[in-house]
């Protein structure tokens, strides 16, 4: 083997090694590309919410003599359901102190309306609807309450009233707190 041939072979080996290295680099190139991640946030807002549902009026029935009391926690009371997702306060406006005759313009029939609220199985104590503030708190499972509305008419009021039909209306107000 001549010196020229040895030099040529050495150069070729170097070139070959360089080619292999470059080829390896090429093969590895995609491996250098890293997975990328990017993130966004999903958002939502739930606004304070309350709803009152139900129907049915409070009826004292036919009164001929003597008074009557309807327990707001009993089955004869008018009931409404309150659904809420935040702490609320229930108040009553326009609470009548007397039921008014549906015909004519005679004197009213004095009445006291009482209210109570049930969360779970327990009723609160009955209280005068006028000025009542019934606080309902959101608990782990408490998002619904039942309002009961009863009242009383005294015997004296019945005795003094003109025969007829009497009625009155109150408004339930649910306020966030």
């Amino acid at each position: 083997m001549t010196r020229t041939t040895r030099i040529t072979d050495r150069v070729l080996r170097m070139v070959g090694a360089a080619v292999l290295a470059a080829s390896a680099a090429l093969v590895l190139a995609p491996g250098l590309v890293q997975a990328q991640a990017s993130q966004v946030t999903a958002t939502a807002t739930i606004a304070p919410y309350a709803a009152v549902s139900g129907s049915g009026d409070l009826s004292f029935g036919v009164l001929d003599r003597g008074g009557i009391t309807v327990d707001p926690t009993g089955g004869s009371a008018a009931q409404r359901t309150v659904n809420f997702n935040h702490n609320v306060r229930v108040t009553f406006t326009g609470v009548p102190s007397a039921l008014m005759p549906t015909s004519g313009s005679g004197a009213g029939l004095p009445v006291t309306l009482t209210c109570a609220v049930r969360t779970g199985a327990a009723w609160s104590a009955a209280t005068d609807c006028a000025g009542a503030e019934l606080d309902l708190d959101v608990g782990a499972t408490t998002t619904e309450a039942t309002l009961g509305i009863g009242g009383s008419i005294t015997a004296a009021a019945v005795t003094n009233a003109v025969a007829g039909t009497y009625e009155g209306t109150l408004t339930i107000v649910v306020t966030a707190r």
Partner: protein
């Protein structure tokens, strides 16, 4: 004879080497230059307890939006939340349907299931891909008021040129 062989073969080899290097230089950066931008949050807006709210991926104002600026083939997957949560721990379930994902590459539109992910191919003539996500929030009755959020992570992995 010896002189001719000595002068031709190295030149050929160097040409091959140059070609390999040039090839590597032109393809590897094209794969590695991936610019992913999160452009917009997924905004379900104001919810009412008990009433589901759906954001479709064509909802320009409320969909989640990403831009992927690159070329080549990529696999895109998502880490999707099952709930939006608020600071006190209350949660709103969130779901992603079969067509809540959308890819737009120029005028080509593909819908996909975000849970399954999608493969995209951005041709050299294209500049980028737009990825959009919708979803449905399902607040249960009685869900407390508050601000709810969760993170959606998009992952992109090159799969070829």
């Amino acid at each position: 004879m010896t002189v001719g062989r000595r002068s031709r073969l190295p030149r050929t080899a160097w040409l091959v080497l140059a070609g390999v290097v040039a090839s590597g230089a032109s393809s590897a950066p094209a794969l590695s230059q991936v610019l992913v931008t999160a452009d917009q949050q997924l905004d379900f807006g104001l919810l009412t307890p008990g009433v589901p709210m759906t954001v479709v991926p064509t909802d320009v104002a409320r969909r989640a939006a990403y831009t992927v600026a690159t070329r080549g083939r990529y696999a895109i997957t998502f880490q999707l939340p099952s709930h939006l949560v608020e600071v006190h721990g209350a949660a709103v379930p969130v779901a992603f349907g079969d067509s809540d994902g959308r890819v737009e590459i120029r005028h080509r539109v593909t819908t996909f299931d975000p849970a399954a992910g999608v493969s995209i191919h951005i041709n050299p003539a294209d500049s980028d891909a737009r990825i959009y996500l919708g979803g449905t929030a399902q607040p249960a009755p009685g869900t407390p008021a508050g601000s709810y959020s969760a993170t959606i992570i998009m992952m992109i992995v090159p799969t070829g040129t």
